[in-house]
Symmetry: C2
Subunit: 197 residues, 2 copies
């Protein structure tokens, strides 16, 4: 049912998945190539048949994830929705990403600041900037359209939004009682309506 076309799909991506889980659990720096090899049942030297370096593993993980995520964001931004509806859609897409790419989001959340210091991961900084423009643009448009409260400190709300969405990766567990749609619903209710009676 699978394969038949691509040359070496299985083993490589399998190893990458193992590395992703370990990076997410312990952090990039706290995970050794020997840890990864042990978890895969091979020796550390054998990893270098598949990958150039430990850095290139995390690079591939983050780059693939971010490209896919931004395909969704771009689609939402270009869609025929009001600013507030777009905001809701972006929040939902983000929680969906936490569900589908849990390890990658965790790595991004925990290690991106450290990795962004290297030339190789400069794209992380660029994506962050694009992300900021997307959210602040939607918030500003929402205030202008009258959907969101006037006088909002857009910059501050953006930071709360961004952090609250992504930090959920620390407690959310895929396959648990809550679906990403559940979490997004609850979160949007709090954000939009508040918790006061």
């Amino acid at each position: 049912m699978s394969a038949a076309s691509t040359p070496e799909p299985s083993r490589r991506s399998e190893l990458l998945g193992i590395a992703a889980v370990l990076f997410a659990e312990r952090g990039f720096k706290n995970t050794t190539v020997r840890d990864i090899a042990d978890a895969a049942g091979i020796l550390s030297g054998s990893l270098y048949h598949h990958f150039d370096s430990k850095e290139s593993m995390v690079d591939e993980l983050l780059d693939t994830f971010q490209t896919e995520l931004w395909a969704r964001y771009d689609e939402i931004e270009a869609s025929d929705r009001t600013p507030k509806q777009k905001l809701e859609a972006v929040v939902r897409a983000s929680f969906q990403a936490i569900d589908e790419h849990h390890s990658e989001v965790a790595i991004f959340q925990n290690d991106a600041a450290y990795l962004a210091g290297f030339d190789r991961f400069a794209y992380l900084g660029e994506r962050n900037l694009k992300f900021r423009e997307l959210w602040t643009g939607l918030l500003t448009a929402g205030v202008a359209s009258g959907e969101l409260r006037a006088g909002l400190d857009v910059e501050l709300v953006y930071r709360f939004l961004r952090d609250t969405v992504w930090v959920a990766v620390r407690w959310y567990r895929p396959g648990g009682a809550l679906t990403p749609a559940d979490v997004a619903d609850q979160y949007l209710t709090i954000l939009l309506e508040g918790i006061s009676q």
Copy 2:
């Protein structure tokens, strides 16, 4: 004006402060004892005249900070306020802590999960549990008293609250344009009233 009583107060706490900044900026694992010594203008071996190990440095930083923070929390909890007022006070005290102990909060936010795996840092897990009880207790009481919206998923709101407050350490800069009281005001408005028009 200082000293006169304690035996060796100055140099030791100075070194600890330097270590705190580096741990906060780069992470515990990414900071070497040589980095700390360099920043202090001495050689790495000399650090061991003041501290047993690198671990004992971060231990002292986190323990001192948490003890002080919980003194404030306990005071608020025991005070004569309504649940909602206590919730607001705890949020304000937390942003105050981000302002006054920025490095310690950043270390706690970034490295606590990793450190908690060692016996030595078991108290981190205990504090987390106590923290959860404090917040969920206040939320439950607030719903019961009618100050907070009925039907709140207390467990979920707790997680959002906890994470959103502490993750602010990633962008908040002490001495900047926003005081911790400003941030707390804005945050509580969003949390309690929402951003919808």
